[in-house]
Symmetry: C2
């Protein structure tokens, strides 16, 4: 049921409606509201699920002795399961302490992954964990149903090649800011 919600979100983005989710899950709207009190509650549960799955992907990537392969698998897994497709929700639902805690846990796992790949010399040294997070979010916007899957995987391979060592140009500008990355989730006053 949450899985259906996630798929619906991957294809329709922030415009996803409750009825879309119910239809994709093969249940009625009533059943959906009996389990989750409101749409916002459902979305919060969805965020938790997405973060749990991405953390799990990070941990299984850490099991891979080759850091670079692990990192690329992590990125591909996250993009495939549309982890970043929930990003348009930022600022539209209230957050819970549990969400922030899981988010921090996920970021720490990703940072370990990135640091390890950099230490092994396969990741370009000027790329940060936040760059990887933005990258995943960016590619999650191209839903596999509404866009060309082959084109997306080619672009992702392109970006991964850009992440690899041996690049010519250093990354421009200041390092990406974690505060900015997270601030989007603060709901503005109604």
């Amino acid at each position: 049921m949450l899985q259906a919600a996630r798929e619906a979100f991957a294809t329709h983005g922030a415009a996803t409606t409750v009825s879309m989710i119910a239809q994709r899950a093969g249940v009625g709207i009533g059943s959906l509201y009996r389990r989750y009190g409101s749409k916002d509650d459902l979305l919060r549960q969805l965020c938790l699920l997405a973060m749990e799955q991405s953390i799990q992907a990070a941990q299984s990537a850490l099991d891979n002795p080759d850091a670079w392969t692990g990192l690329t698998e992590y990125i591909q897994t996250c993009v495939a399961q549309g982890t970043g497709a929930l990003a348009p929700l930022a600022g539209t639902i209230d957050t819970t302490p549990e969400m922030w805690s899981l988010a921090r846990k996920g970021r720490r796992a990703l940072e370990r992954l990135v640091a390890r790949a950099r230490d092994q010399g396969d990741l370009r040294p000027d790329a940060t964990a936040l760059d990887v997070a933005w990258l995943i979010e960016l590619f999650s916007r191209l839903s596999p149903e509404r866009h060309d899957t082959a084109a997306r995987s080619r672009l992702l391979a392109l970006a991964l090649d850009g992440l690899h060592t041996g690049a010519s140009q250093p990354l421009p500008g200041p390092l990406p800011s974690a505060r900015r990355y997270e601030r989007r989730w603060r709901r503005p006053k109604p």
Copy 2:
């Protein structure tokens, strides 16, 4: 006025409303409807403007004797002016022959740009003009107002490094299909 529409579209995507455009243009809704008969007409004019500007960018890129520099400038210009931000409109407005004609003209210019960069040995040989088109569309989704500008330019630099020669992994899968790229604009039956 069209420029205001383009900016509004870059920040709010497909959810852009007529009143947003009017407000950003500093005019009333009435004036907007006096010039363009309907929202769809306005959007069609907007598409034409966007394609004209991107064609102009391609031609000025062809003036640069260094093909690679010209190509990167073209990509950065298109991303900056949000050429691909109109992509979510595909399938929601009727198309005109003039639009298709301009689109073809733009694609031909981009193909010349890509072929030249490949001939000069700076563009990886397995990247096509359609890959570049998808890339521009992808990055246009991160609007400069709703996302971190620095993060976006870093990611773009990453992708450009991936486009450069010297990459390790060949691009996966079949070549992207132009038919699929254009088919999105065909409006499905209501």
